[in-house]
Symmetry: D2
Subunit: 289 residues, 4 copies
Amino acid sequence: MTDAPASSAPTEWVLTVSCPDGPGIVAAVTGTLAARGDNITESQQFGDPASGLFFLRLQVVSSATRDELVTALTPAFESFGMTWQLDAVGRRVRTLLLVSKAAHCLVDLLYRERSQGMPIDVVGVVGNHPDLQDIAAFYGKPFHHIPVTADTKADAEDRLRALVEELDVELVVLARYMQILSDALCRDLAGQVINIHHSFLPSFKGARPYVQAHDRGVKLIGATSHYVTGDLDEGPIIEQDVERVDHSRTPADLVAIGEDVERRTLARAVRWHAEHRVLLDGHRTVVFR
Amino acid sequence: MTDAPASSAPTEWVLTVSCPDGPGIVAAVTGTLAARGDNITESQQFGDPASGLFFLRLQVVSSATRDELVTALTPAFESFGMTWQLDAVGRRVRTLLLVSKAAHCLVDLLYRERSQGMPIDVVGVVGNHPDLQDIAAFYGKPFHHIPVTADTKADAEDRLRALVEELDVELVVLARYMQILSDALCRDLAGQVINIHHSFLPSFKGARPYVQAHDRGVKLIGATSHYVTGDLDEGPIIEQDVERVDHSRTPADLVAIGEDVERRTLARAVRWHAEHRVLLDGHRTVVFR
Amino acid sequence: MTDAPASSAPTEWVLTVSCPDGPGIVAAVTGTLAARGDNITESQQFGDPASGLFFLRLQVVSSATRDELVTALTPAFESFGMTWQLDAVGRRVRTLLLVSKAAHCLVDLLYRERSQGMPIDVVGVVGNHPDLQDIAAFYGKPFHHIPVTADTKADAEDRLRALVEELDVELVVLARYMQILSDALCRDLAGQVINIHHSFLPSFKGARPYVQAHDRGVKLIGATSHYVTGDLDEGPIIEQDVERVDHSRTPADLVAIGEDVERRTLARAVRWHAEHRVLLDGHRTVVFR
Amino acid sequence: MTDAPASSAPTEWVLTVSCPDGPGIVAAVTGTLAARGDNITESQQFGDPASGLFFLRLQVVSSATRDELVTALTPAFESFGMTWQLDAVGRRVRTLLLVSKAAHCLVDLLYRERSQGMPIDVVGVVGNHPDLQDIAAFYGKPFHHIPVTADTKADAEDRLRALVEELDVELVVLARYMQILSDALCRDLAGQVINIHHSFLPSFKGARPYVQAHDRGVKLIGATSHYVTGDLDEGPIIEQDVERVDHSRTPADLVAIGEDVERRTLARAVRWHAEHRVLLDGHRTVVFR
């Protein structure tokens, strides 16, 4: 968490909470805020009978500083064993984009940052190939060429980790990055790495999904945006979408059509994450849209 | 409101509230419930900057009777000038279906009542033609044939009013009922009559929308479900959906394709209304899905 | 093929053809028809580079009898090694519906036959449970209760075969029939049996797909209509569709939402088959919509 | 028409034809090609009962030059009074993009030209504001700043016409160009100018459609791509699409969501036009996808 406003002018805050379900959770949080005279402007909640967990997302306008709010809420946080996040609404999340050669997701995210108010601050672009350097440059983003080969994989990942630390990165987006992160890195960045997979998971896991899709003769092709875990293509799904195709489409057509689905699916996932709308519920997600 | 459980065994209640926006609304309601030890299981809210109104929908598990809950909440209701509804979750709303000759919406709603747990209790079917009597009979529903001509329109509407009263009807659904209700009836049943219009409003208002759509060469056709007001085709929209078509479709094709869009659009609107998810915000709706 | 008009009044015919790709196919067929003075009213074609096969679907208005057309076209059929079908446009395909307890697909298909002009003639309904007898009766369809147990499976299938033969059945639709046909029956009825699978294949093959879908946390659920082959859930896909869901949906919700997707996906597949729009291309389909 | 291959190596050609409907049209064209030994690889046709017109689109592989093909086909063209176009498949259509300040459609089209094989050759970008000059420069496109005021409108249009002529422009795309072309220019470029309108026409014609959509409380917002005629917002529709929204969206949200719908709707229309898939049928279009 960085850059939170410290002034006492009214700020809109977003609070997300998860904890074991039970009575009194909402009242404990909203009662605390009401006692302070703060005004709740958005509220969503979900109790998952399967996991026994409860999830809450609030937006609240308050003249308190972040520290004052945390202090006020700490009794509730502690008595219910809450996992929580508190951030200023609209604060831009420091984001690192990882790419290879395909430009569509990169162009789309940079465009949305600049022109659509997506609350991310892209602090750098990493490519294992140099191809997309000019696009990064056009948007004024530092480009880091970190080639990856079997021999250099460990070194490359060290450079990546160093970059994440040095740039104070909060979110890593694999924007069609054709490399697999190590288990260790996945663990260390759990819940902070979003991938776009070019199929409607769990169909067509693994390589060349459009060729598989063409071969199976499916009538819709899809894309899946998910958090990255060590378990490849099995991370918690954030968003999925599909597009209709027919028999006349070649595998190359499916790739082109798929690009549109991929970029919009990834963009939604990144936006919802950056707006603190996505909460982890085991290997599933709760998305408060 | 009828049939609300009176026992003190824990019941899940749904409370909807609207009032002028301002601080403290959520806290007043949830604080009251928390003080009673009741458990909020669902919560959605929306403040509309355009109308200045605030909307809240809660589900709460409580061992209180309905009267006890109302008593407890009355101070909040009064101090904020709230319009409110309180109902048991899942209670089936007493519904009257009005039809003409087209069967698709009727069949669909009766099927969903019987097999999909849609929380409506269809207490009768009214047809201005007798054609759909057998479908009503198959589902065990009383069918009332009330013909409408220019001469008998006032009489017919009187019979309709009498039926609404006698059957304790809470919701009237115009399931492709090809008659226009009088202004007076619209006013008296405001917010209790749902219509399905066979176009994507505000396109193609008025008669024969599929012919208009064909003539204009649109590439998607749609349907709109809305509350009925005296202002024809201008009532608050609850739900809309579309289907893709192409140049090769005749007006007759558009009608057939449109039937699918109509029945699912209407079914969603009726379900959301019956689950108290739709709140009126002037000539717009808030739909807490 | 039954009931083809024998008169010499102009009839609209639908001709489908598949054969190894190569030059001159279209010209051979259309040249023959042009030489007769027949008027081609619809034409679609597709050459599949993957399989090397060519597919053609024509509608043609002709005053010829079916026999005269076949005689005229036989040289083309033979010189290109064509597989072909010739039928009168709009002739209703004799169809047998197989069901278990779930009514939604049965109700939908019977409604579409009666009211939407779907060109099928449902000559009977077979249930391995008696539950849906009343719906069949309502639509005036003979209902055959053929229970299936481990012990009686062979007998039951014999009765099914006998029915198919006796009723001159051209198409068997598994409208949520919860039994697996034997390999032998699948082979004998190849290309004549359509199933609806309640998932977006190839995801979630096998039993209880909605539970699997819920557990995986997918954001869209789907249905797949396909020809039945001995290879369970792997037959050629005719149509697929999806519906958006979110974290708050229980497995029971997914089932209810899924019913809508299933019935419309199956209805499209059955209609396209009955209109001779679906051609087999190995384990894929060509669908000329 | 420019740059058509002149060699006699086999080329794939696309032929589009429209004429009054009647027997023998397909046979006349395909018979001519068959007699030459040319191979038809794609074929679509449509007879519109409303307009009485017939439409045909063929792709054919031939070793003929364009002139030889035209000569061969001229008897058919003449005897049926055909309007026709003949082009090499994949030839890039010389395209001029007109923009104001909004970048999303410009970025999208330039990306698709460069990376997705959209068969357009963007020969220049015209802006009535200079804002998007850098994007044009990034993609290596000449940018022409042609300001438009009430006083300079006639001059500006003269410069536009000069540019169209000088650059041999075949297609003008109004990629969120916030100016209205004069009737005279619309007439002169009839069927060669594509606009993207930010509403689901015919809803919300005119200015500020997202404000209108918000005010009416619609549940889907859409975009319409159409040919430009003097009759504002009434030109033949090529493609439409929609996106779901709910009550919580502000007009600003609708604008951002709308951008995605606009760019993909426009991109499809431009691609289909450039692939000669769009034929004019009075004030409607036939789109052979």
